[in-house]
Symmetry: C2
Subunit: 263 residues, 2 copies
């Protein structure tokens, strides 16, 4: 059975979407069947993976909107331009569901787990859940559905390290509430700029605070090609396949596959 990995950090702009989409592409190129679920109503992962202008007929909205799933699982998934990678897209309207989901909590927090987990683990080797920059309803749904949590931190941002500590505390809370599968996969250091001292300071802080098996050996370099690829709505692997950014994601995919309990 496949694994479900939630990409989480409540700090904004650390690279959750960049890591989700580029890692998915790299895993697809390594021969995996990958599903990306976009839980952020900003819909950035959806925009990166779906052809421009394609309005998805069904989306994550249907997964969360009502007591019964009104469409079949397959109708919600969209193939992407990337080999082996499918997407459960999101739409901005999903944000409007939050009030009712809160009223129906805690049952509503298990809705994604009930509708996604078994099917995703059967049909995909790896499922990546991209999350919004908070610790709200949709992040809780993701943590109840997932096996692992991957926490990107921005090498220059002290506040993103705080987001990591919050995520670790939240994982323990969700385990207490019943998802015994959930554990920290690894933290990932993103936007490493070798020229600056702050990247080294934060990397050293993280190495001191976390065990080696809690930190990906691979780190992702700061590279403006990531921003250009985002503007072109492509992954860096498609936009600049020979770049250091692309190589880093190939390395990350290999490292991930070596530690995930794939069947």
């Amino acid at each position: 059975a496949g694994s479900i990995v939630a990409v989480v950090n409540n700090k904004g702009g650390v690279g959750k979407t960049t890591v989700t989409c580029n890692l998915a592409h790299a895993l697809g190129l390594a021969g995996c069947r990958v599903l990306v679920v976009d839980l952020d109503s900003q819909c950035n992962s959806t925009q990166m993976l779906l052809p421009p202008g394609l309005e998805p007929q069904h989306s994550f909205y249907e997964f969360m909107a009502s007591d019964e799933l009104t469409v079949s699982w397959h109708e919600c998934l969209v193939p992407t331009a990337y080999e082996g990678v499918s997407c459960l897209p999101n739409v901005p309207e999903t944000a409007g569901l939050e009030p009712q989901l809160i009223l129906q909590a805690p049952a509503s927090f298990l809705r994604l787990r009930h509708r996604l987990r078994d099917q995703a683990r059967q049909q995909f080797d790896v499922t990546l859940l991209d999350n919004p920059p908070n610790i709200g309803t949709f992040v809780l749904c993701a943590l109840h559905a997932a096996d692992f949590v991957l926490v990107p931190v921005k090498a220059g941002s002290a506040f993103s390290v705080e987001g990591l500590l919050k995520a670790v505390r939240l994982i323990n809370e969700i385990r207490r509430q019943g998802n015994l599968d959930l554990r920290l996969l690894r933290l990932l250091i993103n936007q490493v700029d070798r020229r600056t001292s702050i990247s080294k300071t934060i990397a050293a802080q993280l190495a001191a605070a976390f065990r080696p098996d809690q930190v990906f050996a691979t780190s992702i370099p700061m590279n403006t090609l990531f921003e250009q690829a985002e503007m072109a709505r492509q992954t860096i692997l498609a936009f600049a396949p020979q770049s250091s950014g692309s190589r880093a994601f190939h390395d990350l995919a290999r490292e991930l596959l070596a530690i995930l309990p794939l069947s």
Copy 2:
């Protein structure tokens, strides 16, 4: 009377907190009386402006929690290390108020306006509202209380420009709902890296899409000193007063004062 400026962009990590705190400090140095209100339950502005470890006795939480304000206005304000700058701090627990605020909407969206607006405009020349990376309850409260909206965009991020367009649409919606004072102040281009082509591309896109009076002439350069200052919990003006980053905020403060209708 003073002006109330909401700093808004639903895209994460564009520099809302960095701009709020550094602009506040620069305005204080220019002789203004400045109030910073932290509406983000991540509490990053609070951490930047309050001495480390100071647990505020009262906070933005009290402003939003009940029908009647239970403390006096002055009890909630905290002086900061920066001349002329006071802060209404936030605490993480405020996030837990969101469900009840949603239930009490739309009345609850006016709570901040009723409790903050008149007092702030009398006692401060400029009030800056730092917001979370979404378009949720607290952002709506901020827009109902404010006169102006300052939207930072990240020079390399196409998604942050989308956040700007969403903010402009939201301003028009809030005006329709009754806050006739509200208008776009200017957008601010942050993290400009002169070495990269994407900064120029996005700056050119913005110049084509917005009138000159909608874009600050001052832009803020990419500078790792901002990250180091954040780690030291200081503004760049305190951390590296002679840097290009500090100069940019002095310029920004001057430009802002020339366009705000100060009494």
